[in-house]
Symmetry: C3
Subunit: 132 residues, 3 copies
């Protein structure tokens, strides 16, 4: 039991490629530590609609699998297959991929730390890096 | 820091078609304002298992893309392809589409307002409007 | 309005098969009751990256549909089609299925009870039971 406390921090990333996976667990954990919050909920959300935040295994082979898999469901090309791209953008596929990967994760904070399972890592996936 | 406060509001929609996308950002924002909550988390969830709440770009072309894309993954017809429809319902596809679009969004409230990215809009997608 | 309170409980399941759906609404509801929390948010998350937590209809036919549908998107075999499985594991498909089914649900607590729609049930889906 305690007084409610809230804390907000923006994390910025520069990604060198159009598609990239970034493990953000360390930065999220250190934001939790800075906040001084002992028990509560931690919302981690993307603010760009072509990037996502999700919790899964942080393993390079899996990320390659994700990329192939997402491309199969929502291919970037041909860009004119999407009505959204008539706006002059070419990122319709990224909006669809977001629905699979998810915009946000809500994590428990227990005893001052992120309460994650043994293999759980928070990742951000960017679908429109560099050009986005 | 402050005393914890909670606020609940039900939003009701009448949608004219089986499938519809409704931008609910304005109504969610005004519920946040009414609540008087300055810092916290805002849960926005569907309560019907054939409708969803998600955050993405609110653009008509994109919504048309979503509809085609969802239909490809979980076609409504033939309805007898789904075991669930043996119950006498015909909405199995809508239950599957929900898993892609998501039941809920958790939004941050910062300084009394929804803390959304520049293009982020909260939308509700109904897969079983009119008849639902 | 009230003092903030938090409560954490781990639910453990033994599932007899590789794939299984377990309705956890009752156990989540009783954890809410034990917590004494009247208004707030309830995070229910999986801690294994091959299992998921989601809210949908709890109907056997639908679960059979989910299983077929997930297998179509992310087939378990051939296991060597996934880069992740080069690590010696064979669960890449389960990691992908997790992205569709979701790791967590955030539920509202209203007046001391889970605030679910009439057909909403919280379920956990295990993709790697027994061997996981």
């Amino acid at each position: 039991m305690g007084i409610m406390r809230s804390y907000r921090e923006e994390l910025w990333f520069n990604v060198p490629h159009r598609h990239a996976f970034v493990n953000i667990t360390g930065r999220v954990a250190s934001a939790v530590e800075k906040s001084g919050i002992r028990e509560g909920l931690r919302l981690v959300n993307a603010m760009h609609i072509t990037s996502s935040v999700f919790v899964n295994d942080d393993e390079g082979g899996l990320h390659a699998d994700f990329e192939r898999w997402l491309e199969q469901f929502a291919p970037h090309e041909p860009t004119n297959a999407y009505d959204h791209n008539r706006t002059g953008e070419d990122n319709a596929d990224a909006h669809l991929k977001l629905q699979i990967m998810g915009r946000e994760a809500v994590l428990a904070i227990t005893d001052g730390s992120l309460d994650l399972g043994p293999w759980e890592q928070g990742c951000s996936a960017e679908q429109l890096g560099r050009t986005g």
